[in-house]
């Protein structure tokens, strides 16, 4: 027999998948934001001597 789609296990599985999806989206946003801040502040700028070479 197959479970009905509204069964409690399906709800729990959907909730878990939604939670993981939101965490992953959040992580992407944090990494993007962090990269943007680091690049615009010049944290990754090359030393002047290397730029001239």
């Amino acid at each position: 027999m197959s479970f009905h789609t509204e069964h409690e296990i399906h709800k729990r599985r959907f909730g878990r998948n939604l939670g993981v999806a939101l965490v992953l989206v959040g992580f992407i946003v944090v990494v993007f934001g962090l990269t943007f801040v680091k690049v615009t502040r010049g944290d990754f700028a090359l030393p002047t001597s290397e730029v001239q070479n």
């Binding site: 069964h7 409690e8 729990r12 909730g15 878990r16 939670g19 990494v31 962090l34 801040v37």
Partner: protein
Amino acid sequence: MSDASINTKDTTHPGEASFGDYFALLKPRVMQLVVFTALVGLLAAPVQVHPMIAFSSILFIAVGAGASGALNMWWDADIDAVMRRTAKRPVPAGKVEPGEALAIGLALSGLAVMMLGLAANLLAAAFLAFTIFFYAVVYTMWLKRSTPQNIVIGGAAGAFPPVIGWICATGSMAIEPWLMFALIFMWTPPHFWALALFMRSDYDDAGVPMLTVTHGRRATRTHILVYTVLLAILAVGTGFSAIGGPIYLSVALILNLLFLRGAVQIWRRDETQSEADNFAVERKFFRLSLWYLFAHFVAILLEAALAPFGLGGWG
């Protein structure tokens, strides 16, 4: 009634835990304390930090703390199942497989340390890695089951977050974050020993060598008083340092008087008196201990926040 409803209504099969069950592995209540104290450490530092870097740093410190919590739950599942306070945790309750807890703990530890290194600096990342190691290996795997000093030495793991927060901001070491470390370190034993006094059967049943089990309850009451006196000296003394000020000193004086009074009351009582009122004084002391730490760190935060306006600190 179908077979399916019998099998699935009230039980959680391995691999079918909810998102909340996995989140519970990270010990969210401990994480709150870690986030708060790390944030105070970061904001009390005399360096401006970009809000995004501050947010990311605190987030990855919290993830690292959560990872060590998951590793603790993986290792301690056998004793958690015996203790009433911890029996409903995801692993002993059968909601999450021990292997899943281990995998989540290891994966999040690696992620948190790596990301903190990228977000803040390598020194902060190294301290976070050491903290996770200290809590998961030194405290959980070694000290907790072998010595009644488990809470005293293990308390260092919970005391590191403000130091890591400070290093995230400055990239270097100073005396002030270690004063915050000492505050949490000295606060932890009386806090947990008060809990052990009124949750007495839990630690006995699990065979955890808490001071109440190995040295008796009279000795535990004396230890609470001694540590509270030392804590009071440290807490009030911190008021005269660079992170202190009039606000902090006022808060410290009031709370340490209350805390000392509670410790003296606990010391003067015997088991008959405690059992007569169901450990009312010990429970009150435990609740006060939560406010005690929170208020001291709020005061440090206020001193730092008001300093730019010429109001915080000693001028």
